[in-house]
Each structure stands twice: as C-alpha cells, then as structure tokens.
C-alpha cells in the first residue's frame, strides 16, 4: 500500500469515526441513541483493545499471562492522573479548558500516551524476570504481579485508594475508544504478519528450535509483553476517563484478567477477529441476560457459565480457532487457492 493511499484510508477512517462520534454524543436529527446501548458499545470498544492486545502475548507468543488487569490499572491510573492533575494546564496551553472539545482533544491523547508508557514500563519490569518461566509458572507469577500492582494502587491516597479514582472528568468518547481499538488491531495484525510475528509463533511452537534458528527468545517474549502491556494501558486510560466506569482497584483484580482471557479463548486464541468477537460477546452477554435475571434471580451467571462450559466441551479451540474471519468465507472457492499475499492478515 503506497503512502498516499494509506493517508487517504486513515483520513476516511477518522472522518467516519468522528461522524459516528457526533451521532453518539448528540444524535442525528430526532434520532437519539439510548445511553445504555451507547455505554455498552463503548465498553465493547475498550474490551476489544484489551482482548486484542492480550492476544499478542497469550495467543501469538503462547506465553500465558494473567496480569493484564494490572497493566490496565497502571495505564488507567497514570492517564487519569495526568488529566485530573494537569489536564487544565495542558488544555490552557491552547487557550481552552478540559470541558471544551479542543481542550479534551489535546489532553486525551497525551494522557493515553502517558498511560501507555507507564504500563509498558511496568510490563518491562514484570516481564524481564517472569518470562524466564513457562506455562503455569508464568501464569502464577503474572497473576501475582497483577495483584501487587493493584494493592500498591489501593494504598495511594492521591488516586483515591480503596474508594477509587472518582473525581475524574469524563473525556473519553466513542471516537477515542474506537480509534484506539482499530489502532490496536492494526498494530497486532501487522506484527503478526511480519517477521516478528513469525518469530513469536516460532517461540510458541518450539522454543528450542526457535533459538536454534537464531531467534532471541527472551528478547521477543519481553517485546511482545511490553507492547501488550502498553496497549492494555491505553485501554485502562480510556476506561478510567469514561464516566460510566470510574477506576476502582476492586474492578481491576485478577477476575478482570480472567475475563479478558475468556474473551480470547472464546473467540479462538491467536485469532484477532476472534478476539474482537469474544470481546463483544463477553461484554454483551451479561447485559443481554439481565432480563432473565429479573424473572429468575441469579440465573444470569448460571447461564453465562453454562455457555462457556458448553463452548469448551464442543469447541475447545474457540469459535474461530486460529483462523481469521474474512469475507472470502462467503465467496465461492476459486479453482486454485491463491498464495498467501504479502502482509495479508489471514492464517493459511
């Protein structure tokens, strides 16, 4: 894809996102989007960022991490901290304030970058010692680190401690959530279809052979871990400044990490479209089952768990397996299968 075409695609994408954002915030003519649905759509966007980023380390590199909520917390608190304590100053630089469109449009990306960097740093600190471990041991260590991060935040009064970070200004909107979700998908898809993605897959398949083929396995594991953590930090920064969902250490414990794991396992571990699908399903399902709960209290979680158990029995590889959903599925098979295109995002 040439540079001009890339720029054009990005411009078209941004215009569409901005247009949708306008509809989300202010409606279109008489049409108003129900706030409840709008909130679910926004939560799906954040879940997509989380699931797709976790897929990089868990699905592609095959290193089972259970600490994603921890990195989300680091990113979320750092980003929100920037906005709460320095937001007005930053917005003041262009003569605006946090409540205005221009001001928040400047503060939001800055806070997200800070969140990403903080989470990446935490990922590096956690990743370097723990990625020497494999399988269950790595899962336990990352779980432990996630909890350590949470307990540390719990004891910082400046960010609300156990009450949560509540005095925030909600500047996250549909535009930021979905541009970050799409950015995450692009980053992970491009890494996967590159030589770095193949190196990570090789580590997943056989570490000894990967080393023998000249791949510095530790370095690439840490690299994937850091990128994954940074993107989780972005998701944290988005959700921390979404009014409906203020930061609270209780919501960022290991249950949250497991929820993200369930998303990628459900969609098919290693599949990006699978992760998107899983993120949407796991976000919608508990809401959709609320009606059931009204009639039979407590049934919601029973059905939710049953669905997951049935899925694991009948389709343990997840709904999509390692495959990617693509429009080609609906087309008739050509006489000869085309060779995989360079930079293509389909698993062959």
């Amino acid at each position: 894809m040439s540079l001009t075409r890339k720029v054009i695609y990005i411009a078209i994408g941004l215009v569409i996102l901005l247009g949708l954002n306008q509809v989300f915030e202010h409606g279109l003519g008489d049409f108003q989007i129900n706030g409840y649905y709008a909130r679910i759509v926004n939560l799906i966007g954040i879940a997509i960022t989380l699931a797709v980023s976790l897929n990089l380390i868990n699905g592609l590199a095959g290193q089972f991490s259970l600490g994603h909520a921890g990195f989300m917390a680091v990113g979320g608190y750092s980003a929100t901290y920037v906005t709460v304590f320095h937001g007005q100053q930053i917005a003041g630089l262009i003569g605006s304030s946090l409540g205005e469109v221009a001001g928040s449009a400047l503060v939001m990306p800055i806070s997200l970058v800070v969140g990403a960097i903080a989470a990446a740093a935490a990922g590096l600190v956690v990743g370097v010692p723990s990625l020497r471990l494999k399988g269950d041991y790595l899962a336990i260590v990352t779980l432990g680190f996630g909890e350590i991060i949470r307990v540390i935040i719990l004891n910082i009064p400046a960010v609300g401690g156990a009450t949560g970070f509540t005095n925030t200004t909600p500047i996250t909107n549909f535009f930021w959530i979905f541009s970050m979700a799409i950015l995450t998908i692009i980053i992970v898809a491009n890494i996967r279809s590159s030589t770095f993605g193949r190196a990570l897959s090789a580590i997943r398949e056989d570490e000894i052979a990967a080393e023998a083929m000249g791949i510095n396995t530790t370095r690439y594991k840490v690299m994937a871990f850091v990128i994954s953590a940074a993107l989780a930090g972005v998701a944290g920064g988005l959700s921390g400044q979404l009014f409906a969902n203020p930061l609270n250490p209780q919501n960022l414990n290991f249950v949250k990490s497991i929820e993200v794991i369930v998303m990628i396992v459900l969609g098919g571990i290693g599949s990006i479209t699978g992760a998107v699908f899983g993120a949407a399903t796991i976000t919608i399902l508990p809401e959709a089952l609320r009606d059931v709960d009204r009639q039979f209290p407590g049934m919601r979680m029973v059905i939710y768990s049953l669905l997951l158990i049935l899925l694991m029995i009948f389709r343990p590889q997840g709904l999509l397996g390692r495959k990617e959903f693509s429009l080609d599925w609906f087309r008739r098979k050509k006489a000869a299968p085309a060779p995989p295109a360079a930079g293509g995002d389909t698993d062959v």
Binding site: T195, F196, E205, E211, A212, I215, P339, A342
Partner: protein, 260 residues
C-alpha cells in the same frame, strides 16, 4: 597428515568435556573440521553424539574445553548467537514449527538476517514490504530445491516423515549458515530416499559452499558421503580417518560388535 595444502579450519574443538553430575557425556573431545568438509560423527547409541551437537550449538555450555568457530570462541554463547555466526542445525527428533505452514517455517528461519525494525512492520514501511518479498522469494527457492514448493501452504506437520526431515534442512539453510549440523538426516527414510538425500547433501555442500557435520546411524549414508569420520564411544573419540580406515579400525569394530 595429508600432503595437499590444508584448508582452513571452520570448527576446532579442543579438550571438550561435558559432565552431567557424575556422568561425563563427552570427555576430552577434539575435533578439527576443515572448510568444505563432509565430516561424519558416528558411534553406538548413547555415545554422546547429540550431546556434542548440543554443545556446538549452545544448547549446553561445556564443562571444560574450547569450541572455536571461524576464529571465534563460541563455548558458552547462546544458541541464537551461534546461529547468527553461521552455524545451523537440524534435530534428531524433528522440531518443526507445527502450527505454521511449510513456507512460514522456512521464512521464520530467515528472521535472523532481517534488517528491519519493529516499527517498520507496525506501520508497514517500504523496507518491511521489500524484505518480506525477498524473504518469501528466498524461502520459495529453498523449497524448490527440496521439492517442497508444491506444499508450501500446507501445515508443516501434515508432511510425510521424510519430507519433514528435508524441510528441517531447508529451514536450517534459510539462516544462511556456513556450517551445517545434521542430526541423523536419514533416520526413518527408505533406502531410495536415503540415496537421494546423500546426493542432495553433497550437492548442497557444493552449491552453498557449506561445511557439513553429520551424525548418522545409516552406515551406507555415512560411508557413502563422508570424507572424514570420527567415531565416538562413551563420550570419547576412539578413531578418526577416511571411511576405509574406519571400517578396518579394530577399536571401532570392538565398539560396535563388542570385544572378545
């Protein structure tokens, strides 16, 4: 010593010892592999041949002794560092990347020669696209040599056993080595496949100007292609010479058939 001008040593091993607890798997081993050689390493089961390979490629680090590859000491280096210097290997128990295609297996091995940065891949720069194309072309060329180009899109583990062995060699070659270590390349092949493989190994050596070190149990293969053979028993070198000399060596006969 031969009277012909001696070519340079590619691999020089001196007094190499590896102990696992009280067991010495390799004892005081010395080797001198000249450039362009086809060097065979044989010995009864459990003699320590694979351990030697693991020492040479950095899977284990030696207890004592030196390993010098093209003038650089590689003892104690990590496997990926040794591969980068130009040593590639295959495995006795095939270790292909199972969930990747035949083509991807070979392309993965070329990663080490990649000159792009992560950011190139993330934003898809021209360098990334050019390199990706080159890697793909090179991998396809290698697959053609091994007659695997028609199955490039298949999963590596879906290939028949003999082809998996050949794919391992193709993958090793994709790292652009100057020394190739083959661990029982003919294992599990029928006589015809073994003969084809012998010819292929010879041809590869000349075509890619490689030095090849191989461990093999199939004596027909070893005697047929190796120019020098070293016999290992209980981790010690017991004989070194041409195939003819080795076949007549009393120590070798004793090691294989048992002493009187």
């Amino acid at each position: 010593m031969s009277s012909a001008p001696a070519p340079v040593s590619v691999l020089k091993v001196d007094a190499l010892t590896k102990r696992f607890g009280g067991l010495s798997a390799v004892k005081e081993l010395s080797m001198d592999v000249k450039a362009g050689a086809l060097y065979g390493l044989i010995g009864p089961n459990g003699a320590g041949k694979t351990t030697i390979f693991n020492l040479l490629t950095g899977v284990y680090s030696p207890t004592e002794g030196t390993i010098v590859f093209k003038g650089t000491s590689v003892a104690g280096l990590k496997p990926y560092e040794i591969t980068k210097l130009g040593v590639a290997r295959t495995f006795q128990n095939i270790r292909l990347f199972a969930d990747m295609t035949v083509l991807e297996n070979v392309m993965t091995a070329h990663h080490i020669r990649s000159r792009q940065f992560l950011i190139d891949a993330v934003i898809g720069t021209g360098r990334h696209q050019r390199e990706e194309r080159e890697t793909r072309d090179k991998a396809m060329e290698l697959l053609k040599i091994f007659d695997l180009d028609s199955v490039a899109g298949e999963l590596a583990t879906s290939l028949p056993y003999g082809n998996q062995r050949r794919l391992e060699i193709a993958r090793a070659l994709a790292t652009e080595p100057s020394l190739l270590l083959l661990d029982e390349p003919a294992a599990g092949m029928n006589p015809q496949e073994a003969v084809d493989l012998m010819n292929l190994i010879k041809w590869l050596r000349d075509e890619f100007s490689l030095t090849i070190l191989l461990v093999e149990h199939n004596m027909k293969v070893v005697m047929g292609i190796c120019e020098r053979i070293q016999v290992i028993d209980y981790g010690k070198s017991i004989a070194l010479g041409t195939p003819d000399e080795i076949q007549k060596d009393p120590a070798v006969i004793e090691a294989y058939l048992g002493g009187a």
